[in-house]
């Protein structure tokens, strides 16, 4: 496929735990199309996290090939991988992973500090722009611990998109959030996706997977199912149906 942003072939990852070999991935073939909204599902231990680490350039495969935006990643060294993460990828984690005792703005600026191509003013402007995109422009000066879980995750999303990545990788981004906040976060992902950013989401909640275009299910280190989502849900439409938690308490 010419327009694959991520393409993996025969991807194998084997860990050695003492004498025992753990086969985390046993030959994965996936192509992710530019602009796609993909959800990866699977039980824990199915290899989805290992897969995310490899396509996130945090880990290298034992064998197989991985092309990210037509770059052969499997043979890059540590520094080249870091550069790739900085330029092409955005990460969103389940645990938010913001720097403590640091303002939202500084957290969002972080990837730009390592790219060396922005002045202080440009950095500030880009970070503010990203914060505005997730609706938190007014919280720029707040410290991460002064924000709610949903707000922290939105700051994390702002951080993931500040470098204009081609792919945003989100590992269980709604795992620590309540239903309504989860949908709010998904709504942001869908909005970004509409602007052309590829989104790859790991989740074990079928509800959340229903917001994507395609689901890939992992099992025992292999792709067991690929599902094209019918009746894809739109978060912007779901949101009004969900009650605010305040309303629930009142009723």
């Amino acid at each position: 496929m010419a327009d694959a942003i991520i393409s993996v072939r025969h991807l194998v990852k084997t860990y050695k735990m003492g004498d025992v070999e753990v086969h985390a991935l046993r030959g994965i073939n996936i192509e992710i199309v530019r602009g796609e909204f993909l959800a990866i599902m699977g039980a824990s231990g199915s290899g989805k996290s290992t897969f995310m680490n490899i396509i996130g350039c945090l880990d290298t495969p034992s064998s197989g090939e991985y092309f990210l935006d037509d770059v052969q990643v499997s043979r890059l060294n540590r520094d080249e991988l870091a550069r790739l993460r900085n330029r092409k990828l955005g990460f969103v984690f389940q645990a938010f992973n913001l720097l403590p005792r640091t303002t939202a703005l500084e957290n969002v600026e972080l990837p730009l500090l390592y790219s060396d191509s922005h002045s202080t003013a440009q950095r500030r402007a880009k970070a503010m722009e990203a914060l505005a995109a997730v609706g938190l422009a007014d919280r720029a000066g707040h410290y991460s611990n002064q924000l709610s879980g949903g707000q922290q995750q939105r700051v994390a999303i702002a951080r993931s998109l500040v470098n204009d990545p081609v792919v945003i990788l989100a590992d269980e981004p709604t795992g620590n959030l309540d239903t309504r906040t989860s949908v709010e976060v998904i709504e942001i992902f869908q909005r970004l996706n509409e602007k052309g950013i590829t989104v790859v989401l790991v989740t074990h909640e079928p509800d959340i997977a229903g917001f994507s275009e395609r689901n890939i299910v992992f099992r025992d280190g292999k792709v067991s199912k690929v599902i094209e989502v019918e009746n894809r849900k739109l978060a912007s439409e779901e949101l009004p149906k969900l009650p605010l938690i305040v309303d629930e308490i009142e009723s």
Partner: protein, 406 residues
């Protein structure tokens, strides 16, 4: 990452833990302050000693009687003096590089003036003593050559002696003092020289004509030592050679016999004293340097704890694109900033401590720029040395494990 960003990131991290950053610096602060204070105090002592020795007079050459030798048995230095007044006179006549010479004879005697008495050293010398030792009077004057020839009973009092016999600050010109029950007329009071480096009171002395002390107080035909002065500072070594050669001839020493005298110069005495104080200074400074190293280990300790505590932060930084080198520089800059800031505060504290000690103990101090530079450079090196290992450890973290770290 450019250096400006590295600095920004590092200072923010340090600022997040102000108390801990300060406590880490404390080790370096104390170490640097101690090194500077110790060097300042040691250098001050050394300079004071040098000044005292310079106070001996310029171009001074001193001839000591040396251990006499009977076969292979060598006697204690000064046990038998074979230096005489005639040696002094002959040296003056025969050695062109020598300007002044005086024999010196010393006795300890009880001095009485009215109801007061005081025990002190009475030194018999020629009037040239004034020139050789560069020791003027504050009142009256030295005795004359005539006094010397006639063994006149005249004397000059040191300030301490005058104070003790006649009351503080008195100038008892023309008064009579009893030295070993002989009446001496006071013709002058010596200018005050203060304490010597060894804590001796230079002013606790009485000076009288050589012939008078030798004949009437000491009762000896020998001199305890000779003071001479060279015609210029450059001629000092020539003077030493001339005196040595001349005395060997005059004392009829055979070529296989060793000298029965020792010629020493002010410079030699100065360098000996200097070596002593330098040793002391080095001793103090090395104790201080040890505390500096302990401070460095403190930095390493805290940085290691910091790396463990901030594992997740390091993971986040790596995930968003920090290379190992970026993390390494950040932690190295943090360690160096701590030690350099500690160094600066330590320098200030060291200077203040030195000044305080100097005021309290009336101890002269000399704060040399070299000692400041040394302590500061040492602090910087310690920052790099002890910061390297924790920084390396941080840089080598696996981003996946770091991100999962709880």
């Amino acid at each position: 990452m450019n250096i400006l960003n590295v600095l920004r990131v590092s200072y923010r991290s340090l600022g997040r833990n102000k108390l801990r950053s300060f406590l880490t610096m404390l080790g370096i602060i104390i170490g640097v302050a101690a090194v500077i204070a110790m060097l300042a105090i040691g250098q001050g002592a050394s300079d004071a000693v040098q000044q005292q020795i310079a106070g001996l007079g310029t171009n001074v050459v001193i001839v000591f009687p040396f251990a006499s030798r009977q076969g292979v048995v060598r006697f204690q230095a000064g046990s038998t003096s074979r230096l005489t007044e005639s040696d002094a006179d002959a040296i003056r006549a025969q050695c062109p590089a020598v300007e002044y010479v005086t024999p010196v004879v010393r006795v300890v005697a009880q001095i009485i003036a009215g109801a007061q008495n005081w025990q002190t050293q009475v030194m018999g010398v020629y009037p040239d003593f004034e020139e050789i030792r560069n020791w003027p009077v504050q009142a009256g004057g030295y005795f004359t050559d005539t006094d010397e020839r006639t063994a006149a009973k005249v004397c000059l009092l040191g300030q301490t002696v005058a104070d003790n016999l006649f009351g503080s600050g008195s100038v008892p010109l023309g008064a009579t003092v009893q030295i070993r029950n002989l009446p001496f007329k006071v013709v002058g009071v010596l200018a005050s020289k203060g304490q010597s480096a060894m804590g001796q009171d230079n002013d606790d002395i009485v000076i009288a004509p050589f012939s008078t002390v030798q004949q009437k107080l000491a009762g000896t035909i020998y001199a305890n030592l000779l003071f001479a002065s060279a015609i210029s500072s450059r001629a000092v070594s020539t003077a030493v050679d001339e005196i040595s050669q001349f005395l060997r001839i005059k004392h009829n020493l055979r070529p296989w016999q060793s000298d029965d005298f020792t010629v020493r110069t002010q410079t030699e005495i100065a360098s000996t004293a200097d070596a002593t104080t330098k040793t002391m200074t080095m001793l103090l400074a090395s104790v201080a340097a040890i505390s500096l190293i302990v401070g460095g280990i403190g930095i390493m300790n805290i940085m290691l704890v910091s790396v463990t505590e901030r594992t997740r932060e390091i993971g986040i930084r790596m995930a968003v694109g920090a290379r190992g080198a970026d993390v390494l520089t950040q932690f190295l800059v943090e360690a160096m900033s701590l030690s350099l800031a500690g160094g600066i505060i330590g320098v200030v504290l060291g200077v203040l401590t030195s000044k305080f000690v100097s005021n309290l103990q009336k101890w002269p101090i000399v704060i040399s720029p070299q000692s400041i530079a040394l302590a500061f450079a040492f602090a910087a090196v310690i920052g790099i040395f002890f910061g390297w290992y924790p920084a390396r450890k941080a840089a080598n973290l696996n981003p996946i494990e770091a991100l999962r770290y709880e």
